[in-house]
Amino acid sequence: MTGTQIVQREQALSVIGGEATDANLRRFLHGIPGVDAVGLEQRAAGLGTRSIKTTSKKWALDRIIELIDLTTLEGADTRGKVRSLVAKALTPDPSDLSTPRVAAVCVYGDMVPHAVEALGSAHGDPDAGGISVAAVATAFPSGRSSRSIKLEDTSDAVSAGADEIDMVIDRGAFLMGRYGDVYDEIVAVKEACRRTDGTYAHLKVILETGELNTYDNVRRASWLAILAGGDFIKTSTGKVAPAATLPVTLSMLEVVRDWHKLTGQKIGVKPAGGIRTSKDAIKYLVTVAETVGEEWLTPHLFRFGASSLLNDVLLQRQKMTTGHYSGPDYVTID
């Protein structure tokens, strides 16, 4: 563990008020004020009605592309599919080379070497103009397997060159109230993200909000994931409906805001699944800017997990540059 991580751990434990046992976590998580569901949905709906004018829209479209984790998570994925995904990540719109690159490509663990190879010299930090490789791990999407398999899955992806790990929490344990198990697992996976040189891959913790049923649970799971050391909290795997919704993302952003006020640390948020249109994505940008501030709109603090969203953004972008409507024949099929 590095020095800052020890400080973080101590901060987390002081927030919990003791060791991370089931009892202590339960006392803390159930002591958090409940979510006003009606108010939350109303606020989210209100944020979705902002009128975005042309210049802001232009900025927003480019920023959305820069924040996308271009994803392919299918059983039928092949090397070729990953290579074409990477090609699209590098050059989203061949008809307009001023189009920015996406932040990362997100693939299954066994596809990481192919993604790294296809990216070549472009593999790197999105802040430095590179594209990261994110891998889903820990028996994604269900998370139903033993701890040792999950850790092996994680370290395997990290050693293959993944910069970011998207883990799933054990929703079964969470819903049973075994918060200690969930906490310990996130801590263990975080440790498995350690590279040989002592640095860590970024850890995104997927809450799978569609299975948590209530906003109260989403808020508790967000706190739990942040306390256990997640760098990002992510809404969904994309395999369960409902996936990302605006109210759920808003409630997660509120936890991130509170944590920032409490400790000064900035945690990232990644809505994933179900965001298919530029219009929806812009609503998320508005929500982030209004809840935690515009400084969150960077690849290190906010991401969209999406595959079809990119095509819609490209169509809108083409409409703005050429002045007439474009069609799906003018973007790649994926």
Partner: protein, 286 residues
């Protein structure tokens, strides 16, 4: 006691649903004598865009049906039109200020024309397609296939007949349609959309926009996802410009026609919106 008048405000027909215009605008439809008849939605470019998206989504289903089935569905529309004959006649009398006899002729001609085109659905390929003679042991077959999404500017001086004459032939081959109805005489188009909504035509196959063709046509002409443009009713617009912007994305274009014979029934209007596919297949040499 006199009844309170119930003025109607009609909506657009996009993707099998009846949405208001995204812009929220409406305009008054007036009779030939200038009396108020109803309000119609005034479509904006975004409505046109939505209509194209709906039409594109409907292409595979509609063109994938067997041509026989398509013919049945189109014939069913003619049946429904027949059932609403009185309503169409009354609307045309109001809107165009013609006698009942003239209106009746228009409606009957429109229904007959619809039946005529419905009949072509499983026959036009035999006429427009061909088995080509080639020097080799191959079958070489050319078949017409629908081009995709067809945008139509309906004849502006006719309520029902012009609209039917333009829309029906485009549907025969399996294209889907976005049509801008007559700006001054949209009532029949609106009633036709109600007919279509209760018929067997899948949602999105026909999308009807009411409003200003001058405003909407340029967006449809330049839209990259529209495959063909029928300018039959665009005679009063800057249609040369529309043709030029349609050429940017290689659309098939039909030019404006004027007068009562505009869009007269012909096989040519069906094949205008088809592409010819030619396939080679080996012959058995046993």
């Amino acid at each position: 006691m006199t009844r309170l008048a119930v003025p109607k405000t009609y909506k657009l027909y996009i993707g099998g649903k009846f949405p208001r215009s995204e812009s929220g605008r409406v305009y008054e439809i007036v009779s030939a004598k200038g009396a108020f008849l109803a309000n119609a939605a005034q479509a904006s470019r975004k409505d046109a865009r939505d209509a194209v998206v709906a039409a594109r989504a409907a292409v595979s289903g509609w063109s994938g049906q067997t041509s026989y089935n398509r013919g049945q569905v189109l014939y069913r529309i003619a049946e429904l039109l027949e059932g609403r004959r009185a309503q169409f006649i009354a609307e045309i009398v109001d809107a165009e200020g013609v006698t009942t006899a003239v209106a009746t002729t228009q409606v009957d001609t429109a229904i007959d024309r619809w039946v005529w085109y419905a009949g072509w659905a499983d026959k036009y390929a035999q006429v427009a397609g061909n088995g080509n003679p080639v020097a080799g042991p191959y079958f070489n077959i050319s078949v017409p296939e629908p081009t995709g999404v067809v945008a139509i500017i309906a004849p502006q001086d006719s309520s029902l007949l012009g609209l039917v004459s333009a829309v029906a032939p485009a549907l025969v081959a399996g294209n889907t349609v976005v049509v801008v109805a007559s700006e001054k005489l949209p009532l029949s188009a609106i009633s036709l959309s109600e007919v279509l909504a209760t018929s067997d035509v899948p949602g999105g196959v026909v999308n009807i926009l009411t409003g200003s063709p001058a405003e909407i046509a340029p967006w449809l002409a330049s839209h990259a996802d529209v495959n063909a443009l029928d300018l039959v009713g665009a005679g009063d617009l800057e249609w040369i410009d529309l043709q030029i912007s349609a050429a940017d994305t290689l659309k098939r274009v039909l030019q404006p026609e004027n007068g009562p014979d505009a869009a007269a029934p012909s096989l040519g209007r069906i094949t205008a919106f088809t592409e010819t596919k030619t396939v080679w297949h080996t012959k058995g040499l046993i």
